[in-house]
Structures are given as C-alpha cells and as structure tokens.
C-alpha cells in the first residue's frame, strides 16, 4: 500500500513531471517563472487547487457519472465544477483567512481551469486510481510543478543577464531554455523501475 503510494508520489514529481514531460500548464510556467517568490506563490496555489479539485472530481466521476453511464461528460462537468470550486474557495479565503488570500489570491483566478489542474483530475480517473491514490498523485504533480517553476526561475534569472541575440529575446529563448530543462528530466526515466527492484 505504502509502496504503491510512494511510487505514485515520486513518479508524478520526477518521471511524469506534468510541466516538463507532458507539457501541461505551460502558460503559468512561462508567465510567472520570472521571479522566485512569484514562482513559489504560483506553485503553492496550484498544489492547493489541485488537491481541492481532485477531492471533488473523483467522487463525482465514480458516484455520479459512472453510475449514470455519462463518462463522456467528464471534461464538461469537471471544468464546471473546478471553476466554481476555485471561485468558492477564493470567496471563503477572503472571508476567513485574509492573510492566505493576500498571498495566493492573485494566482487563484489564473489557474481556475488551467490544463494542468484538469489534466490531473482526468488522468487520475484514466489511471484507475482509488481516492487516496488520486490525492497522493495530485499532491505529487503539484510539488512537481512547484519544483519545475523554482528550477526554471533560476534559469531565467541567469538568462536575464546574458547577451541574447535580438531575434531570440523574450519568449523564444525562454522556450529554448525550457526544452533543455525538460530534456534533462528524461534522465529520471527508469528511476522508478530501479526503486521497485
């Protein structure tokens, strides 16, 4: 039990890092990774939203959609529910935890229905995880996202002080750098098999 959970957790951080190997959530990855504190804020918000979203969407899929044979409505219903949920969480935070709201508030609307949040919710279902496994997997994906953001913000700080050719300045060089970082993550392939044996 614990072994499976560990494998799911580690593999979703390193081997199946959603940003760097599946290219989900690229928009915040490129948009908010310029400074370290912003990257961390965004990462923590994503972890938070992912956990909430998984906790809500998994029961919906299993107890409502599957029972009624409406599996094909998955994407629509998930988007609807996650969007409403994030809004609800934002209102609640503003009322009861203003300090947390001022720290995460800016990022919450940005990730309302980000593909990485939806991707985790859907992949948890297609991978056939049970509830606990789903939660662990989304926690892992979230930490993996935070990890990628923090790593990449370091790369970008370095990039800012180099003489980039004019044609590559801005987004192009960022994408080139992102591809090299993602290439390095392929080095983790096989790590999990090693852990199993």
């Amino acid at each position: 039990m614990i072994k499976t959970l560990t494998i799911i957790f580690v593999s979703s951080i390193l081997v199946d890092n959603y940003v760097l190997t599946r290219f989900l959530g690229i928009c915040p990855f490129l948009g908010v990774s310029r400074k370290l504190d912003q990257a961390v804020g965004m990462g923590v918000s994503v972890i938070f939203v992912m956990l909430c979203a998984t906790a809500v969407t998994w029961p919906i899929q299993i107890f409502i959609l599957d029972k009624l044979g409406l599996g094909y409505l998955q994407t629509l219903v998930f988007i609807l529910v996650i969007a409403a949920l994030v809004q609800f969480v934002e209102i609640t935070l503003k009322k009861f935890l203003p300090s947390l709201h001022s720290a995460l508030g800016v990022y919450l609307p940005l990730i309302t229905t980000n593909c990485i949040v939806l991707g985790v919710a859907i992949n948890n279902i297609t991978d056939g995880y049970n509830f606990l496994e789903s939660i662990v997997s989304s926690l892992g994906v979230g930490i993996g996202f935070l990890f990628a953001m923090v790593l990449f913000s370091g790369v970008r700080t370095r990039l800012e002080n180099t003489g980039v050719p004019e044609t590559f300045r801005g987004l192009p060089i960022t994408l080139v750098a992102a591809s090299i970082v993602s290439l390095s993550f392929y080095g983790f392939a096989g790590v999990i098999e090693g852990m199993l044996s």
């Binding site: 009624l68 409406l70 409403a84 503003k94």
Partner: protein
C-alpha cells in the same frame, strides 16, 4: 433519448447548483470594501514606489483607511497636493511633505575615472557589475549603462560622459532608481539640501586619487572649513550631517578634487516656489 435527457438534466442541474452555491457564498461571505479606502487609493499617484513604507499604493490606502494615526504626508511623489487631499479624506491634520530627490553619489565618468577593462557584454549595469566589480578601477563608480534611466518613471536621468546624471528638477523622489542601482550609490536627499558629496569611494586617499580624478581623498579640508561641524570624514569618505548643515557651501569651495557639489537641488514639487 433518455440518455440525452439525463445528460442534459445532470449538466444543467450541476451548473445551477454551482451557480446557486456561488451566489449564496458571495452574499453570506461578502467582505465590505471600505468606500473611504477606494477614495484614498484614487487620490494616490499609483507609482507603487514604496517610499511611504507600505510597499504599494494599495497598502498605504488600506493603512490610512483603517488607522487614524497613520500620517498623511508619507507619499513623496504625490507631495503636498496629495497630502492635502488625504487629510481631507481621513480628517487627519495636514502636515507638509518633506520632498526628496535622488542623487548619484559619483562624479566619475569617462573623463575622470580609469577604465579597468574593455567591456563588450550585455549592456546593463547589473551584468557589468558581476564581472570583476564593474568596468572602472573604482569599485564604487557609476557603471553608466543606465539601469536607472530605464527604471525612472519621470525620465529625469540621463547618461552624460559615461555616468548617470539626475536632473533633480524632474525628480519626484519615488526612489525607484535607488533600488535598481547594483552599486547602491544613488541616495535620497531632502530637496532642501544644498551640498552633496558626489563620491562613494572608501579607499585611502592616494589609492582613490589614482583611480579617479574626482574622488574624495579624505584630506579633511572640508572638515576644517565647515563652520558648524556638519561634515566629517568617516571611513575615508566625507559625510554630511544634514541636521547641522546650513548650506553655506564652504566645504565645496575648499575641496581640492571638486567632489562636493554645491547647488540648488530642489525637485519637481518645489521648482515653482523659487
């Protein structure tokens, strides 16, 4: 047929439930937005410079609205006119703003300072500063690539003879340039100041002189000339205590290297009061 119906019912009902939930939540958990805070925020200039000590204009507005003891004269770019508006809005007594200006404490540049190496890299001060402490022999010299020029919202800074010069007549005193200078040689002064030491070099006199013709060589002639003991040499550099300074300009007259500047530094808010 029933399949479509159930799908339709499920989708619209989940939409309805979510909508209802959000509406209820927004009614029950609404936080009142203080109207005074909105009005105060509108009166502020919105530069987000942080000179008030609250980080952003929003932060200062929130502090003013919630706490009556917060002073209304903390916004330096806004100066007296904003302070007056804020006093009207909050009912706090009006106090005049001490206007400030930024000034580069370096008199170097191409014709004064000795070059350390030929630099052909990325043309920002931050990048040049990382390579052996910058392009000049003097470690405290203005790099002159204009990081501050780009940051200045008022276009008050220009590069003259390889170093940044601040036109204090345009300076609102926001202090953004102070935070972007990698050398940390831009400082804020009260705009009533009449003398500024335009050197930041802490080397011993002889060493400093070799690096730059306009450096402070810690000769102490200004100390002796000052009638009020306002100027003192600290760590091989002249430093003015503005509480004692009368602005007579005696120190500037005797300075052998000319690194003490005697002038009228009034900023944009006080030009008309001349």
């Amino acid at each position: 047929m029933t399949g479509i119906l159930t799908a339709l019912i499920l989708l619209s009902s989940s939409g309805l439930i979510c909508g209802a939930l959000l509406t209820v939540a927004s009614v029950f958990m609404s936080t009142e937005k203080d109207e005074r805070e909105v009005a105060i925020r509108a009166a502020l200039p919105g530069v987000n410079c942080g000179a008030c000590g609250y980080g952003t204009c929003d932060g200062y507005a929130a502090a003013l609205a919630s706490d009556n003891t917060v002073k209304t004269n903390l916004c330096i770019p806004g100066a007296d006119s904003v302070a007056e508006k804020l006093s009207q809005l909050t009912g706090a007594p009006f106090e005049s703003v001490v206007e400030r200006i930024a000034y580069v404490k370096c008199g170097g540049g191409c014709s004064q300072t000795v070059r350390k190496y030929q630099y052909e890299g990325c043309s920002t001060c931050a990048a040049a500063n990382m390579l052996y402490g910058g392009i000049w022999e003097c470690e405290w010299a203005c790099q002159g690539f204009g990081d501050c020029v780009l940051a200045c919202p008022e276009e008050a800074i220009s590069i003259v003879d390889g170093m940044a010069r601040i036109n204090t007549r345009k300076c609102t005193g926001c202090g953004i340039c102070v935070s972007v200078c990698p050398k940390g040689i831009i400082e804020m002064f009260d705009d009533s100041s009449r003398v500024i030491v335009t050197c930041s070099n802490h080397d011993k006199g002889a060493v400093a002189r070799k690096k730059c013709k306009k450096s402070c060589i810690a000769c102490r002639r200004c100390e002796k000339a000052c009638p009020t003991d306002a100027i003192k040499i600290e760590d091989n550099l002249a430093r003015i205590n503005y509480e004692l300074c009368t602005g007579c300009g005696e120190c500037a007259k005797v300075c052998p290297t000319g690194c003490i500047e005697y002038s009228d530094f009034r900023g944009v808010h006080n030009i008309n009061k001349m």
